[in-house]
């Protein structure tokens, strides 16, 4: 087992000394992944792409089940790349929405990388898509290190996860353009403080655009689209138009 106290300010791991010939490198360590991510971005073309990050069970798939029908009803075409450690259960839920979807099963790997997405693009029909949603593996740490060629990351946090989640997992909030606070219908049963969640997230990234959503389909939502979902759809539509406009230039 690793001893987390082995390094404090992390000056060194390992026993070998600084012997031998020095080679100055000065390169991005993720260059190999980023080269493929850049190619993915070229394949995406005019299509706007969001990479959803979250803990397992925060409601990413439910969010897509809420957003996609609204987009579809307004004539926008969506596709989904699903990332999971095991099973194609989420893809089956997306298939039911009647849009193209591809399941990446990582077989234990805790994140998607650009190469995995590149392979999926050979198999997923995206030529008419206005937007592609990438549902990353449920994990708030590992997926943050890998650029997939997306236009933006969005972090999803459910209200059951604790107000301090942004402080505990800052990378996901730092790298995201938007934060979705999901399952707000559960707030009456919880001590969660939504203002505190926002304050903590904004202390990491003060430019975060925040949506408060509920994907509950039961009658007490009145069958109406939740305001947060409607706001997200408006945001995505705007992004789709901006990307398409940029691509024409």
């Amino acid at each position: 087992m690793l001893n987390s106290n082995r390094i404090n300010r992390g000056s060194k791991v390992g026993s070998a000394g600084r012997s031998g010939r020095s080679l100055s490198v000065q390169r991005n360590a993720m260059e190999s992944n980023d080269v493929i991510a850049k190619k993915n971005k070229a394949v995406f073309g005019r299509t706007f792409v969001i990479n959803f990050l979250s803990s397992p069970g925060s409601g990413k798939t439910s969010l897509l089940e809420s957003i996609v029908p609204v987009l579809k009803s307004e004539g926008f075409k969506a596709a989904v790349i699903e990332g999971d450690v095991e099973t194609d259960l989420d893809k089956k839920r997306i298939d039911a929405l009647g849009i193209p979807a591809y399941q990446i099963i990582t077989n234990g790997t805790c994140h998607l990388d650009a190469k995995m997405v590149s392979v999926s693009l050979d198999k997923l029909d995206i030529k008419d898509a206005d937007v592609i949603f990438i549902e990353n593996v449920g994990n708030l740490v590992c997926p943050t290190s890998f650029n997939l060629g997306e236009d933006m990351k969005a972090v999803v946090l459910s209200v059951t996860e604790g107000d301090d989640k942004p402080l505990k997992y800052p990378a996901a909030f730092y790298k995201s353009e938007a934060m979705v606070i999901n399952k707000t219908d559960l707030l009456p049963a919880l001590d969660s403080d939504i203002a505190k969640i926002k304050e903590n997230a904004l202390s990491i990234n003060n430019g975060l655009i925040i949506f408060e959503t509920s994907c509950k389909k039961k009658a007490d939502c009145g069958g109406a689209v939740n305001k947060g979902i409607a706001d997200m759809v408006s945001f995505i539509k705007e992004k789709i138009k901006l990307k398409a406009g940029e691509f024409k230039k």
């Binding site: 690793l2 001893n3 987390s4 082995r6 390094i7 300010r9 992390g10 000056s11 060194k12 791991v13 390992g14 026993s15 070998a16 000394g17 600084r18 012997s19 031998g20 010939r21 020095s22 080679l23 100055s24 490198v25 000065q26 390169r27 991005n28 360590a29 993720m30 260059e31 190999s32 992944n33 790997t109 805790c110 994140h111 990388d113 740490v141 590992c142 997926p143 943050t144 290190s145 890998f146 800052p170 990378a171 996901a172 730092y174 790298k175």
Partner: protein
């Protein structure tokens, strides 16, 4: 534990840019790790110790930190 993937990315970056040409052994790698990079330095060290690559056997990692989300390879010491 994505640090195994990060370790492989670092090796690929060094390999693809010719830094490992003719190198028998890498003694140390100096990395600049951003505080928002999502990297655990202990796990990254563990990953390097378990790479299936003889050139990195016993390699020592040295770290400096920055306030970004970047992971940068600054220098390697090789035989």
């Amino acid at each position: 534990m994505h640090e195994f993937s990060i370790a492989l990315e670092i090796v690929d970056t060094l390999e693809e840019n010719g830094y490992l040409d003719g190198v028998n052994k890498v003694n140390s790698v100096r990395l600049n790790i951003g505080k928002y990079s999502g990297i655990d330095k202990n796990y990254l060290g563990f990953a390097f110790q378990n790479l299936d690559d003889e050139r990195f056997k016993g390699v020592s990692l040295e770290f400096v930190s920055n306030d970004s989300d970047e992971i940068k390879i600054e220098e390697i010491m090789v035989d």
